[in-house]
Amino acid sequence: MTRLTTTLATGAAALALVVGQGTAARADYPERPVEMTILFGSTAQTIGQLLAELMSQHLPQRVVPVSRPGGGGAVGYQYVQSQPADGYNIVWNSNSISTTFHGGNLPFDHTAFTPIAKISEEVIAVAVRSDSGWESLTDIAEAVKASGQPLRVGASGRGSFTHLATEAVLADLGLSEAAIHVPYDEGRAPVELLAGRLDAAVQWPGQFVSHHQAGTLRIVCVSGAARIPSLPDVPTCVEAGAPNMTMTMWRGLAAPAGTPAEVVTALEAAARAAVESEAFREAAGTIGFVPAFADHAAFGELIARDDALLAELMEELGLKQQ
């Protein structure tokens, strides 16, 4: 089956070269709609759809968001990577390129893509029940060490970004051995926390904001280098007692490696216009992310830097497979 598919695909690719590629005049890019592959559901998908919508206003052709979920992003990455590097297939990517690669779920790393632009940043939040009396990470660490009971921390599945952040916080607090990571589907952590089945949860702040305001849950800290605009009174994790804990999830756009520079520039300009638009800023406030445009060069450096950091962290946690 596989061999047959490969043979047919090779034949098809040869055909494609004959029919399509050679004639494309790069100057007129884009001549047809650009497909933006979206790797995840829920808010990541919504932001991607909004971005595509806004970018379409600044390009002669539409940017079509196409959802290709699965394998923690691996399925979508593989699809885009296998497409011709002509700028008609781009991916709404994130740090997941590093976690899926180092976790052994993707046969290629971030170098298989040409960065286009960084779009946004998201931090994660550590939350506890208000009646726990814990005000900071230091409180948690002291309480756990005093009681001798393991801390049950909810985050997404093993190897996910929230799990890595959880382990980073715990390591900083010296609690690596005194805590249990309980994997939960995104979205369920607040209930489990409220119901008392978890002692703490590490998730995107949006999940906790309403409970935080209502006073049932308390967001102890956010993982970024600075506080976030929507939660000005919540300290960063560094302020709250984890001196080395800064982790930020970026999202951006990338195309298969080898995409011509002028195509990247065209997409970058559209992305910049979209990020700077009023609509995008408003959505950022309500959905809970920070618009943070960076051009392709700066984005490329960031990806490489973060990849090294995540590789190191996953190595320490025994999660690095390749």
Binding site: T46, R68, V182, R188
Partner: protein, 512 residues
């Protein structure tokens, strides 16, 4: 009161009503076409809502959600292929009704049951959102696992022909769903190192394969056998169930609606599970359970009231706790967020008018969905006039593209081809399909909840019996399984006894 009037004015503005109508129509169409689901429809609608004010935006999405949930019954009843996973249980009796010439009655009943389910869940939501949310919160992994196991134990009830083959089918269904990335540990299972297999088998893809491919093969076989003579068209009448007929099932609708609301309110469950639980409840509580699977109207009433009640049930944790119960409500959640409405306890304090508005929009959506469906029935049934072999060609296209559209993945179309062939083989081997579906539906949740519960308890198994709901459902599951084994054994013994003198009934299956 002021608030309610304000909400009424906002929700009944012409553009909002129009948005709900468009959403409902879109939802019914996506739901009715096998393969295209309301989750896909909702994702497609999201970009449109960016430019709308919040009421029409929410109305558009709610209409799509509710329309899709209701529309799924159309193809389930007419061609025996569920339009959405939530309608899988409806196939069992709905399609049998069509084969007995009662398609329009089944469709009409499904619409009525759906509307009742929706309204009951809405009422529950309105009067007791806090109470239900608090009750649902008691369902942690251990409790949810117990509930799911109880659901799975009804496999026994759904495959009376052979306990052994029913079990085999259930296990096969559970096995298929373990392929892919394990969500808890992030480990690949049975992917043979490929990225493609990491996406695993999608539930709806498996359902399309199980229902649609054997259907197509059968149609071709029939065509071949009839020497390519086309069957005379089926007698198509568009008669609707009378109100009196519907009233007779009122009590069942109410019970199943409550089941649906409850299941919907528990995160990690969802429409297909609710529909099957309601179906087995209807069958267990029926005085004539043998009619089920042969076109019993209750077999349509129960799953359809339950799966629509899930829409209201799922709104409870969504609105009061900010927790999406399934992909559809997750889309709803991000749409609410983008309009500055953050679901959770503060929504009730800061924007009570929005909550009232949502209630009104749901009622409005049901009005439209019922109207669209009732008007549509006379058109839908015309599908039965299409000769079976040509309909099969259409099904190939719809299901092929439908399978693709779920995740825009070619792998899903290949899966339909392969799993469909296997399904046909299993049917020939008299392995019942219903337990496979139940296994597919329950499998991932069952494993996830079981393992999460044990992680929480640090491996202590008593987490499953230390809470009342969990112990209760486990007890019920044990009763169901025990009873079935007992009946099965008695059947074998009876067969032995009968066989000793005559040797005649060697092949008789153990029967209750």
């Amino acid at each position: 009161m002021d608030m309610l009037l304000h909400a009424l004015a906002a929700s009944l503005a012409p553009e909002t009503v129009f948005a709900v109508a468009v959403g409902s129509l879109l939802g019914v169409l996506f739901g009715a076409i096998p393969g295209l689901t309301f989750t896909v429809a909702m994702a497609l609608v999201v970009p449109v809502t960016f430019s709308l004010p919040s009421e029409p935006a929410i109305g558009l999405l709610l209409g799509t959600y509710i329309g899709g949930m209701t529309g799924g019954s159309v193809s389930a009843i007419l061609i025996g292929i569920p339009g959405t996973p939530s309608a899988a249980a409806t196939v069992l009796d709905g399609y049998q009704m069509t084969r007995r010439g009662r398609a329009s009655i089944a469709l009409g009943t499904a619409v009525a049951a759906s509307a009742v389910g929706g309204f009951v869940s809405l009422v529950v939501m309105m009067v007791s959102v806090d109470l239900v949310a608090r009750l649902a919160m008691r369902f942690g992994p251990a409790e949810t696992f117990a509930l799911l196991l109880f659901g799975l134990s009804t496999i026994c009830g759904l495959s009376e022909k052979s306990f052994l083959r029913g079990l085999i089918a259930g296990v096969l269904g559970l096995m298929v769903m373990t392929i892919g990335i394990d969500a808890l540990d992030g480990v690949q299972r049975l992917t043979f190192g490929t990225v493609t297999l990491q996406q695993g088998v999608n539930l709806l893809v498996a359902m399309i394969a199980l229902f649609a491919v054997p259907h197509v093969i059968d149609a071709f076989v029939q065509y071949y056998r009839n020497e390519k003579q086309v069957d005379a068209g089926t007698d198509v009448r568009a008669e609707l169930p009378s109100p009196g007929e519907l009233l007779r099932h009122g009590w069942l609708m109410l019970r199943c609606s409550l089941i649906g609301t409850g299941v919907g309110a528990i995160p990690g469950t969802g429409g297909p599970i609710a529909a099957f639980l309601a179906y087995s409840h209807a069958r267990k509580s029926s005085r004539t359970p043998e009619r089920f699977g042969k076109g019993a109207i209750e077999g349509v009433v129960a799953p359809e009231s339950a799966n629509n009640a899930v829409t209201g049930g799922a709104m409870i944790p969504l609105l009061s706790l900010g927790i999406p119960g399934d992909p559809a409500t997750a889309i709803l959640l991000s749409a609410l967020l983008i309009h500055g409405l953050i679901p959770g306890p503060m929504l009730f304090i800061e924007h009570p008018d929005t909550i009232y508005g949502i209630y009104i929009l749901i009622i409005l959506a049901y009005v439209f969905v019922v109207a669209i469906q009732l008007l549509g029935i006379r058109f839908f049934v015309q599908l039965l006039r299409v000769p079976a072999h040509l309909l099969a060609v259409g099904i190939i296209v719809m299901c092929g593209y439908g399978a693709f559209s779920i995740r825009n993945s070619v792998f899903d179309v290949y899966s339909v081809a392969v799993l469909g062939l296997l399904a046909y083989g299993l049917i020939q081997a008299r392995i019942p399909l219903t337990p496979i579906i139940l296994g597919l539906v329950l499998g991932p949740a069952l494993e996830r909840e079981f393992r999460t519960a044990l992680i929480l308890s640090r491996g202590e198994a008593d987490i499953f019996i230390s809470s009342v709901p969990s112990a209760l459902f486990l007890g019920l599951a044990a009763l169901v399984v025990g009873g079935q084994i007992l009946r099965s054994l008695r059947g074998i013994l009876a067969a032995r006894k009968a066989e000793t003198p005559s040797h005649a009934s060697a092949d008789t299956e153990p029967r209750p």
